[in-house]
């Protein structure tokens, strides 16, 4: 039972807007784009709810290939079909590609200085904070999850331990814990649906 969204969602007016939105968020994405996607598309532009973002991210994560590219394909495709998907991916890649190739061409002149290495170290620490905070903010999206908040937090804790403490390979965690969680959700949703059907007919 999803709760009603407080404010209506917006959507990109054109493929051009889609392209530039993805260019802008890709250029802000130091040490990973995901935190920026969440902030720009959910909090600022309101193209999707927090819950939709988590759902899309789950799919983008489980499909093979670069995660953020998968996410761009899905979001762009939802608004404008295949051409929208291509616009979003092009926006995500074009400008950063120019930046990274320029960096590569210049590499060697500054990379060995203590200043450049220190700056990278500092940016890396900030990027770690951005990713952690994004995860913490998204915990609120579990409030409406059919599994129930307590069960979700338990499953999240297991996943954290498996990855961060046990250091198990990601694919195994996604297949094992993710698979178990999906089977469980399938059963819970079956009961919810049955209860709803009974309620409707009564």
């Amino acid at each position: 039972m999803p709760s009603p969204t407080p404010t209506p969602l917006h959507r990109p007016a054109s493929r051009r807007e889609l392209f530039w939105a993805f260019t802008w968020l890709a250029l802000q994405g130091f040490g990973g784009v995901l935190a920026v996607v969440q902030r720009e598309l959910v909090e600022k532009r309101r193209w999707m709810t927090r819950e939709q973002f988590v759902e899309d991210w789950a799919v983008a994560q489980i499909m093979p290939g670069p995660n953020v590219i998968n996410l761009s394909l899905m979001i762009g495709g939802r608004y404008f079909g295949l051409s929208g998907a291509l616009c979003a991916v092009a926006g995500m890649l074009a400008a950063p590609m120019v930046v990274v190739l320029s960096l590569a061409a210049l590499y060697g002149s500054v990379a060995h200085t203590a200043t450049a290495q220190g700056a990278l170290r500092g940016m890396g620490a900030v990027a770690a904070g951005l990713i952690t905070a994004t995860g913490i903010k998204l915990v609120a999206a579990l409030d409406t999850n059919a599994l129930g908040k307590a069960a979700c937090v338990g499953m999240a804790a297991l996943t954290f331990v498996a990855i961060a403490v046990m250091r198990w390979p990601l694919a195994w965690v996604l297949l094992g814990l993710g698979g178990a969680s999906c089977v469980w959700a399938y059963r819970v949703l079956g009961r919810v649906d049955a209860a709803r059907t009974q309620g409707d007919s009564a």
């Binding site: 802000q28 789950a58 994560q61 700056a119 500092g122 900030v126 994004t134 996943t159």
Partner: protein, 196 residues
Amino acid sequence: MSVPTDLWWSLFVHFASLSLLAVGGAITTAPDMHRYLVGQQGWLSDAQFTSSIALSQAAPGPNVLFVALLGWNVGLNAGGGPAGGAMAWGMALLGVTVAMAGIMLPSSMLTYTATRWAHRNRELRAVRAFKTGMAPVVIALLIATGWLLTVAHNQPARDWPLWLLTAVTTVVVWKTRLHMLWLIGAGALLGALGWV
């Protein structure tokens, strides 16, 4: 490196085959890229491989751009290195195109088709169960990623300012709407000054 046509095709096939294996992100296939490009074929030096990954992490944008840099360096080497002039730069750009097409085309076609199907069938119990069940797992993955990035610096006496910076950033992003670029800039400045 005298048979470019063969080289481009092999490069494409290698990245295309890894594309469908890259569950959890392209970076998870980096070890196999190293084995093939550096060890087996000798198209890249070890230093070029490592610096490609480091540079792509430092630059803005998706992490998959490290593949573009690998392609760039393979092409540059095939064209005779930076001394090769326009020919070498052209080969480098071709390398970028071939590598990125390889890593992205198979997975993108699969993802696009599968997600369109899932969207059309979003009322199916199996589709809803997948989204419901995966939500807590992927949220935990994010927090775990942040944690792993932090504890990769594992010398408390030296690294505590770095941990503090990560903790402060977490709270600021969580509780305020301050623009992320300010935080990145602050991190770069503190690092450049040697304070973290």
